[in-house]
Amino acid sequence: MCYFVQGPLVLIAGIIFILGLLYQGIQFFKLTKKKEWGVPPSSLEIKPQKQTKKQWVREALRTLNGTLWKTDPVLTIVTSVFHVCLIIAPLFLLGHNILLDQSWGLSLFSLPESVSNFLTLLVLICGLYFLGRRLFMARVRAISTVYDYLVLLIAVVPFLTGFLAYQQWLNYQTVILLHILSGELMLITIPFTKLGHMLFFFLYRFFIGSEYSFVRGSRTW
């Protein structure tokens, strides 16, 4: 059992993660293939105008006002920090890279462990903020289901167990096994739950952008 979690399951989880994302990506392109509307006359099309750098910056800042930044700056900061740390901490973690090097002979650059520890702590604090929002803000609680809590748990548990393992608090053997298991669970669930926004975030940005600004209906790229 221990061997399965440490060895084959890591590979299985990785394969499901990559194939799952590929499948979802292909599905996305398939479903958006059909042109829903005719192409409007080109006179109606809004062509982007040439801008100076100064205009571009002003325009970009103005656009920010239409985003979450204007309505909820705290959440914007928390969620940005959460996502940046969530990606950076595990990728550039010394322990992960040493294990990678041991199995594949290649590894990424590693941050000092104190920095990784700090980033992990930030992920946990942000996760706690998300949990608090769901629990205590009426408008968020109203649309929260068990599924939302579960997804949050899947995202945060690898970091919680990783933090405990680094500090060597509680029983190390159990904590490290839970850490590996929760990481695998996260990889497996990413393509098939709303954690899939890891991929869809980028696709939707283009999709919605093309829906609303290029006025051609459906995916035009």
């Binding site: 440490q6 010394l94 322990g95 294990l99 041991q102 462990e113 060597q168």
Partner: protein, 133 residues
């Protein structure tokens, strides 16, 4: 009666020889990163030499000097205090396999192989060797 005395002396002599050969190997070997690398990313590692011997490993399973892919180490060289047989004698900062990687390869590599063979094995994860005190 004489035969009994002879056996007693023989056992005593053998015992002394065995004990002296065992005492030549300190059981606890401590790898102190501060001494080895001048800096410490993680707590040092304490290794039980006896447990490795008791597990049936021969000296050359771990200690090595490779020439043309062959381990040509002379086991007689393996004495405490012999600087020439220390890992750091070869695995220096300018070699492809540095000291830190040599330690990791040697320990994790062997422990992983045994795990794959479903045999009793040693630790593989950071905190199992680098134990915080």
């Amino acid at each position: 009666m004489k035969g009994y005395q002879f056996i007693t002396v023989l056992v005593a002599v053998l015992g002394i020889i065995l004990a002296s050969s065992l005492s030549a190997q300190p059981d606890k070997i401590v790898f102190d990163p501060l001494k080895l690398f001048g800096k410490s990313k993680r707590p040092g590692v304490t290794l039980s030499h006896n447990r490795h011997v008791e597990a049936g490993l021969s000296c050359k399973d771990c200690h090595h000097v490779y020439e043309n892919g062959q381990n040509v180490l002379d086991e007689g060289q393996l004495e405490e205090g012999n600087q020439g047989v220390r890992c750091s004698a070869c695995h220096g900062p300018k070699v492809r396999i540095g000291l830190e990687q040599a330690f990791h390869d040697q320990c994790i590599g062997c422990h992983t192989r045994l795990l794959k063979e479903k045999k009793k094995t040693g630790p593989r994860f950071c905190g199992q060797c680098h134990v915080k005190k």
